[in-house]
Symmetry: C2
Subunit: 404 residues, 2 copies
Amino acid sequence: MALIVMKFGGTSVGSVERIQNVARKAIAAQKAGDQIIIVSSAMSGETNKLIALAEQITKLPDPREMDQIVATGENVACGLVAIAINSLGGKAKSYTGFQVPVYTDKAFMKARISDIRPENLLKDVKAGIIPVVTGFQGLDADGNITTLGRGGSDLSAVAVAAAVKADRCDIYTDVDGVYTTDPNMCPSARKLTKITHEEMLEAASLGAKVLQTRSVEFAMKWKVPLQVRSSFSDAPGTMIVEETKDMEGLVASNVAYDKNEAKVTVQKVPDKPGIAAKIFKAIGDANINIDMIVQNVSADSTTDLTFTVTKAELTRTKALIEPLAKELGAAGVATDSNIAKISVVGLGMRSYAGVAGRMFEALAREGINILMISTSEIKISVVISDKYTELAVRTLHDEFKLGG
Amino acid sequence: MALIVMKFGGTSVGSVERIQNVARKAIAAQKAGDQIIIVSSAMSGETNKLIALAEQITKLPDPREMDQIVATGENVACGLVAIAINSLGGKAKSYTGFQVPVYTDKAFMKARISDIRPENLLKDVKAGIIPVVTGFQGLDADGNITTLGRGGSDLSAVAVAAAVKADRCDIYTDVDGVYTTDPNMCPSARKLTKITHEEMLEAASLGAKVLQTRSVEFAMKWKVPLQVRSSFSDAPGTMIVEETKDMEGLVASNVAYDKNEAKVTVQKVPDKPGIAAKIFKAIGDANINIDMIVQNVSADSTTDLTFTVTKAELTRTKALIEPLAKELGAAGVATDSNIAKISVVGLGMRSYAGVAGRMFEALAREGINILMISTSEIKISVVISDKYTELAVRTLHDEFKLGG
């Protein structure tokens, strides 16, 4: 008998029919001999609806009150899931953040979980009751309701699993696992049976969008075995696991791409200390997020400074940088939004030499020009012209033998 | 400086504009020098929407989970009111039932308030903050969320007012006070500047629908001065007060009517002990509410037993009573749903003799036949044919000189 936390996202509880499907899954798992705890998000669309309502009053609503309001979406979804389980002959009881309780710090709208008391939940599972816990929300030390920020329900599920020492935390979503790359982009993409936390973290932050980054970090830290699987089938998904010996044979696990970035180049910047700092401080102060930064060694006394931002923030970035570039004596600012970032992720890179070379060579064979390069211990990212996205993904997927 | 509890119903917070109106009212009252606590219902329609969602899953949803779900309507409304006050330069903070806290018994969907801790609310008002408290909901001793049943927000407001020892509890609604009768029925109807708790109780239970009955009982018991007033104007409303000497001049305060009942007569029932008990036990067991009961002294060994139920329950009542009437040896069952109940309410009846006589005589002058009569210490109700409703209301309103 295993203790399993089942986490359902907004799409999985997006209608009465889907809520009944969740109830059937939980009851079946319980009948198969496991102890079950559910963590659920709000029904899809509900959180946005509540935010829109508040923003009709003011564009800057009080964060404490926003949390008071948006947390209700999870209360409703969990109540409905419990009703569905009870109506099908099971036994369930919904828990809000204060009822578990899930304690957090005081940072409204982006709170961090500080402690979860497992006693109530464990008493229920021992009595054959399925606790249905609201994701995304908690309680601070002053009794205020807090929320964890977007995607926070994944984190709630992993934290609950850690608190009750669950044997596994299953994240049910609308995809059936983690793939070697996007199947829509590359027909030979293959579902991975397992991937390490480290690889998943790089893939998540690179746009794979399957799991919230903080939840993977938390699972890694507290050694919670995670599984990503589909709420619309019974097929096993992808296990996110600690690194083990038998993984060493693989160089790469994943080819990711992101077409949502744009490139900004400040041309012929005087190559003096403090110049880059001035530029990036201005961007940081404007709350614009930068992804990649590249600065070449300069041949003369100037250098080109290139970085990427999201396409949505390109106009604002340009308006901010152009006067600054002039002031700093740069030649000008060039931008390009027709780019794509392609990344190869794999723990194997740490032990296999020449991965970067293989990657660049494969792209060169197809005549794909590399505009920027950035690397981490287990990842190599390149920026290319976006018209080559599909070709690059397929080429690298083949090169690293990720196909089925 | 007075401490005022302002209670707003669902219509008063039914849109973003109305919520902003509530915020302006509260800020104005605070600027005028009073300390303010708001109690709010859910936005109109929200509670029904949540119930409908649950009933799509099952017609008999678990009461604990229903309370978990429907209580969220008030959380959202109170959060929005607090946001509106803060956005207009005021200071506000919303409170759910568990945050006040408001303790209740364990009767889900019809809980009774057992205790309200005033400390958090009083600390806020002293600091110039307007607490915005969720009506309708509380917390039981096991940490479950409970709700008080329909119209429970009025009760929440009165209970909060009693707990903080407020100088007044203002119930804001879509009418501007308590009238001598329905102005739509009788053009000379007049807004009362005050009415006693006892009279209001009779009027409320007779269909005046301005205040929930339990909230008036609670205000009477805890001596909370209540005012019913409009959320769409600044005009003073009607004070619901304890009985005072200067009220003795008035025989009646109010003519009420109710067209929602139907009459059932069990004809020629054998006049023996235990027969009525059998009939009414059967009706009670079926959870059908009876209002008036009349049984005449019998001329022979049989009697006619007449009672009223709501029109909605007439068919079910008839189906229940007909076989029973046969079994008991009655001649048959007659029903009439074209009836209206007209009531005259007034504390003065206790000291003035002949009120019933004046009432019956006035109706007789207009040729209105009385089908049933029922009296309490401060109320006389008659059942008549419903086509005479308007005529009877106007006649009695004139007879007791209630006009403006």
